[in-house]
Amino acid sequence: MLAVIVVSVSFGACEPNEEAAEALARVTPPGSELMSQQAPRVQRPTFSNVRGPRLDPYEAPGRWPFYWTRAVYSSGYRGYGRGWSTDYPKGDQQFLVVLKRLVRLNAYDWENAVRLDDPVLRRFPVIYMVEPGYMNMTDSEVEGLRGFLDAGGFMVVDDFWGEDEWRQFEYNIRRVFPDKGIVDITLDHPIYSAYYDIEEVMQVPAINNIMRGFTAECRYWPCDPQVKGIYDEKGRLMVIINFNTDLGDAWEWAENPSYPLKYSTYAYEMGANMIVYAMSH
């Protein structure tokens, strides 16, 4: 069922970032233009400031029970400082479309990016953070993230690879929680059965790599996919870390016939499970 939905949902991308667009151009399979033309293209204004896009100013936070919210943080990503926006906003929009088909979720239809040091972050108890391998949070962002998680927020981390990026992420998350351990989330954890029954942790490749025949991005180091977590004092999971894997690309490129279905399926299953779990535990 999930596979059918994933391949059948063809979504008009709004503003894919430049790198992703380049990758798409390199790997565009025959017939994809036709597919793109057939799909309804929904154009929506973007709302930006120097630190990144924000919620539609005409949209009142709280109108919808759920907002898929991307964490905006500072980084030195290739000199642009926009590591948070990888796959944004197409990945977010496409994820929401499929997620709403799979889960009975009354969600806001559009992307929602919020800075970690913005007080409004507390109104969105689940946030999504990508590419933390280049993150370099400011002190106010560290404070904001700590307050968010301590209050009961839940963070999904995704799309960073290899030892260097891990160290960078770990350095930053240690600034948030110096004393909290980062532990493996084994397959007996309820997050793997919150919605779908997931029996193995799969490495989800970025689209660039799978086109070249790789799944791992870190070809020179050990690169097993790992799911780790950070728990609060009461044993409640508050951060789930998808390391050496890229769920976001699978959500973003699920409609691309060249992107293997099994990865998209797994990514959406994992995404649904993380959302259902985060909204009930």
Binding site: F66, N106, S280
Partner: protein
């Protein structure tokens, strides 16, 4: 005043009240009227014919005065009289009921106890007793909680710990039912501290025509004094619940003062709170917050230290029994979609050992996430489809789930869950809740405390961000208390962030009470945020906010408002929810040897009353002796079983009732009873004039105080029942008539002098 009346009218007012007015002169009234007319006409004619200096008006005045004089004289000739029945001396009985309870020993302002009156009035040498004995055969009774015959007032001991006026009247009436009874004299302070209503005793007396003459002793207000009037507290509470106890404190002579109320149990002082006593003579309610740890029966002692000069010291303390229940109670929370409200409510009560919040969350059509279930079969097929399955839960929380999710039977089942099973129902705000969820017109709508109108229109529906504040009712309600006093509660709510509502509700049903309301500059009227009502045996709560989790996410971490709120609300939701088998004792505390009634209600797993169950009470005394007593169906009500027993030891009795039918267990329940000497006579110990007046008036008797007791024997003679004879009491020689005649004659003479007609 009564003496002046008697001087002018010859008899006391009571005689006029009881007697029937008439004329005793022989002959026809018409004949007498004709004669009177002729005499009157002659008088008028004599003034009409006469001439001289008088004018026509002069002659009119004088004729009128003369006619009035003749009329008065004429009335006397008719021999006016009162006809009334009086009891025949020494052929009738009078019962004298004397209060033998401890309160009779209380000293008055002059230092003399109330019993001093008895020694004056009811000893063999007393004038009152002599007069009564001359007219009636007297029978004496002593009474406190029970009544008994005695030979005289010298047998009284004044050691009764309760006063039951109704039982005393019943006993005397029954004892004297075979003899001609003129009336009952009841000597008491009127403090009736039994549960039995007085009306039950007064109706048979009215039917038998037996008047009761009450003599009230003691002062109407004992000053200065402080009394703990009553302590309002549930008989059972879930362990760890925030308990709010109302203590009614009354006082005279201590107005404007502040005194401490100390609450302690067997081991320690639990809390101490200062209460302002307010204006002199006006009772105040002190609201005390208690946290009771540890399950089992607890005996709480509420006391106010004795203040200098207090007249009664033993009414400054009260003991109250409470059972702290340690069970883990199940609440079913059905959520129609993944929502943060569920996550944060779960977190709020996760560490509450007494609440098991079972989650059934619809994640897709026909797909559910189940959490906190007891076993893998629980809610295996979704929401319960039978009453037996649903009634296992004590309360039900409905999240954002549309009414069409349920079958009609399930909707009816939810309504019955509240009205019949006695469960608690809480509906949360959301896109699929209330009218927006299609609940209007369903059986559940009737249960809800709020009025559901038409669903909010428009593409986007209704949406409002509101600031939540407690209503006056909410300020004092335990469920929404976020501070220790009303000011703190209000301030605390003001500090919480605004939340959102998508269900516009501004009206509650007639039985509903609003505890929280929401306001917004964008709205013309306040929205109902939280309201509740009792419905049948249970209660329903409407909570229209869809994101109370903002109270957790936004305030500082140390703020526990969200946790406290939901813990209190969910505990309130399950508070008082009955089991299928329940037992209570009609009194919380009795004295050793005093009878206590044990009442059990028995139902099956669907809470349908069962009348053919085998019910046994296992009573464990403080020393460990166990006695099994069969509890029989009371016949008065379906499913009600009752038995009386008399505890003989001092201390705590444990009573466990088990019920079974056809060898299958229906359930069991536990309750506790404390036996101890009672101080009840020292509470409300002033004279209860209203009660005593009521007894007298409803039975045709009279109310007296020691100051006006001397007319009692004659009053009984006039108004009493029994063997009577008809007596005529002439009125023509009343002094008032002679005075009137003199006045009329003097008026005519004076008029003539004034007009120069003499």
């Amino acid at each position: 005043m009564e003496r002046i009346f008697e001087f002018l009218f010859k008899y006391r007012p009571l005689v006029f009240e009881q007697g029937e007015f008439g004329f005793a002169a022989p002959g026809s009234v018409r004949l007498w009227l004709a004669v009177a007319g002729l005499v009157g006409a002659a008088a008028v004619a004599s003034y009409t014919i006469a001439r001289g200096k008088s004018t026509v008006p002069d002659r009119g005045v004088m004729a009128g005065l003369r006619v009035a004089l003749f009329a008065l004289l004429f009335v006397c000739l008719l021999q006016p009289a009162l006809t009334l029945s009086t009891v025949v001396p020494q052929q009738n009985f009078v019962g004298v009921l004397i209060d033998d309870s401890q309160s009779m020993l209380l000293a008055g302002e002059d230092g003399a106890p109330r019993t001093a009156f008895l020694q004056e009035a009811f000893t063999s040498e007393s004038e009152l007793l002599t007069e009564l004995s001359d007219r009636f055969a007297l029978r004496f009774f002593r009474f406190s909680d029970v009544a008994a015959r005695i030979d005289g007032a010298d047998e009284l001991s004044f050691d009764g710990t309760h006063t039951n006026l109704a039982a005393a009247l019943d006993a005397a009436r029954e004892e004297l039912s075979g003899v001609p009874l003129s009336g009952l004299i009841m000597v008491t302070d009127g403090a009736h501290n039994s549960d039995r209503p007085l009306t039950e005793a007064l109706v048979p007396l009215q039917a038998a025509g037996v008047p009761v003459f009450t003599i009230g002793l003691g002062e109407e207000a004992i000053t200065p004094d402080i009394e703990i009037g009553r302590v309002e507290m549930p008989r059972a509470v879930l362990e760890g619940s925030a308990l709010i106890v109302d203590v009614v404190v009354s006082q005279t002579g201590f107005g404007g003062r502040a005194v401490p109320i100390i609450v302690e149990d067997e081991q320690q002082i639990l809390t101490e709170q200062i209460v302002d006593l307010g204006p002199d003579g006006e009772p105040v309610v002190a609201r005390i917050h208690l946290d009771l740890e540890g399950d089992g029966p607890r005996r709480l002692h509420f006391r106010i230290p004795v203040q200098p000069g207090e007249r009664v010291e033993r009414n400054n303390a009260r003991d109250v029994q409470i059972e702290v229940r340690g069970e883990r109670e199940k609440i079913l929370y059905l959520e129609g979609e993944p929502r943060f409200e569920l996550k944060f409510m779960r977190r709020a009560v996760a560490e509450d050992e007494n609440i098991q919040l079972v989650i059934l969350q619809r994640t897709a059509e026909g797909k559910y996430l189940r959490l906190e279930i007891s076993d893998s079969t629980e809610l295996e097929f979704g929401f319960p489809t039978s009453r037996e399955e649903l009634y296992r839960y004590r309360s039900l929380v409905l999240g954002s789930v549309e009414a069409s999710f349920f079958t009609h039977d399930q909707l009816q089942m939810i309504a019955d869950f509240v009205s019949h099973r006695g469960g608690g129902l809480l509906m949360l705000g959301g896109r699929s809740s209330f009218a927006e969820g299609g609940w209007t017109g369903t059986p559940v709508e009737e249960v809800m405390p709020v009025v559901l109108g038409e669903p909010a229109g428009g593409d986007d529906g209704f949406f409002a961000e509101v600031a939540v504040r407690p209503t006056p009712a909410g300020l004092t309600h335990a469920a929404v208390q976020l501070g220790l006093d009303a000011d703190a509660v209000s301030t605390h709510w003001d500090s919480l962030p605004a939340v959102t509502i998508v269900n516009p509700i501004s009206e509650v049903r007639p039985g509903g009470t609003v505890l929280l309301s929401g306001s917004s500059p964008d709205l013309s009227e306040d929205q109902v945020v939280m309201a509740f009502q009792r419905y049948g045996r249970g209660k329903s709560i409407a909570m229209t906010v869809q994101d109370t989790w903002l109270w957790q996410m936004i305030p500082p971490l140390e703020d526990q408002s969200h946790e406290t709120f939901w813990k209190q609300v969910l505990r309130w939701l399950i508070d008082g929810v009955p089991e299928s088998v329940q037992v209570i004792t009609e009194q919380e505390q009795v004295e050793p040897g005093e009878s206590v009634r044990l009442v059990a209600t028995v139902g099956d797993s669907t809470y349908i009353e069962v009348n053919d169950a085998s019910v046994t009470a296992s009573i464990t005394s403080p020393s460990g002796l166990i006695e099994d007593v069969a509890v029989e169906w009371s016949v008065e009500r379906d499913g009600e079983y009752a038995v009386e027993f008399r505890p003989s030891e001092l201390g705590a009795y444990e009573v466990e009732v088990t019920a079974e039918r056809d060898g299958m267990p229906l359930g069991s329940d536990l309750t506790y009873l404390h036996t101890a000497p009672s101080d009840e006579e020292h509470f409300g110990a002033s004279r209860h004039t209203q009660t005593l007046r009521r007894i007298a008036e409803e039975t045709g008797g009279q109310y007296y105080t020691p100051d006006n007791i001397e007319t009692l024997p004659e009053d009984i003679t006039i108004t009493g029942a029994g063997v009577t004879l008809v007596e005529q009491m002439p009125l023509w020689d009343m002094p008032i008539i002679f005075l009137l005649m003199l006045t009329l004659m003097g008026a005519e003479w004076g008029f003539r002098r004034m007009r120069g007609l003499v």
